[in-house]
């Protein structure tokens, strides 16, 4: 078994895991976007067709999946801002590690503000 090299700047650290998370959330959001454009296009067909499909978005299981979608979007968006700052801000690289934790904290804060309200809509 090869052992993991110690003391690298990137591997196994915040830099690597934020990249992994950015990819996974990006792919998930992409596939949702494909479905979302198609379901919204149903407004052109008939009110009944659109209402029938959008009705599934209000069911408990999809309602919970929406929480996951919002969490993915929150991380992807805020970590994207972090990536922009690393690329364009003079001190971006220096603060990339602390910025990751700010991303996680802000995403969590917004999520905590959103989740109870959304769950009340879905289950209320």
């Amino acid at each position: 078994m090869p052992t993991m090299p110690a003391g690298t700047l990137y591997r196994g650290k915040v830099g690597m895991w934020s990249w992994v998370l950015h990819r996974i959330t990006g792919v998930a959001i992409f596939f949702f976007l494909l479905v979302h454009v198609l379901d919204t296009a149903l407004v052109r067909l008939s009110p009944e067709a659109y209402n029938a499909v959008i009705g599934t978005y209000k069911t408990p299981i999809i309602g919970l999946a929406e929480l996951g979608l919002v969490a993915a979007i929150l991380f992807h968006a805020l970590n994207g801002v972090r990536v922009i700052l690393i690329d364009f801000w003079r001190k971006g690289v220096k603060y990339q590690n602390v910025m990751f934790w700010i991303v996680v904290a802000v995403a969590l804060l917004i999520f905590i503000g959103f989740a109870p309200r959304h769950l009340a809509h879905v289950f209320g």
Binding site: V27, F30, V43, E48, I73
Partner: protein, 146 residues
């Protein structure tokens, strides 16, 4: 097909436009705009009022009777689909080991993107919030009673 990686210090051997650079710039420019557009979209559609429970044909009809939301949603459609497709292209380029597979997947991605951008744009521009013959209770309140 094996991939040839140039020596790091070899002079640039590139002809034509540097599309990878424009792609890189596009991801950041569109990404910054999408943060605002999508957060606004989620706030108005999922947070305000009754959230997901309130979304139906009449809700969309009400929103798209305002040019502000038409422009907002069109911008989101174009920016997000191209951003997402380019991101998927990056991932395909990273993991597809056969050149033919990679090419096919990248073509498929841009094909899907073109179809959905066209479909979405047509829907926004040709949308009728008060379609003839539809049940009045499914339509926005401003529609004339038929």
């Amino acid at each position: 097909m094996s991939v040839v990686i140039e020596q790091p210090r070899s002079p640039r051997s590139r002809k034509g436009a540097n599309w990878e650079k424009y792609g890189w710039m596009y991801m950041r420019a569109s990404g910054a705009l999408l943060v605002i557009l999508i957060f606004g979209h989620l706030f108005t559609n999922l947070f305000l009022g009754e959230g997901i429970k309130a979304i139906d044909f009449a809700f969309v009809g009400g929103k798209w009777s305002d040019p502000f939301w038409k422009v907002w949603d069109l911008a989101m459609l174009w920016l997000a689909l191209i951003h997402g497709t380019n991101g998927m292209r990056t991932i395909v380029n990273d993991y597809a080991s056969k050149e033919a597979v990679r090419k096919t997947l990248v073509w498929a991605l841009w094909g899907i993107c073109a179809v959905l951008v066209t479909l979405g744009t047509l829907v926004v521009f040709t949308f009728d919030p008060c379609p003839a013959g539809a049940a009045a209770e499914l339509l926005p309140s401003f529609c004339p009673a038929s």
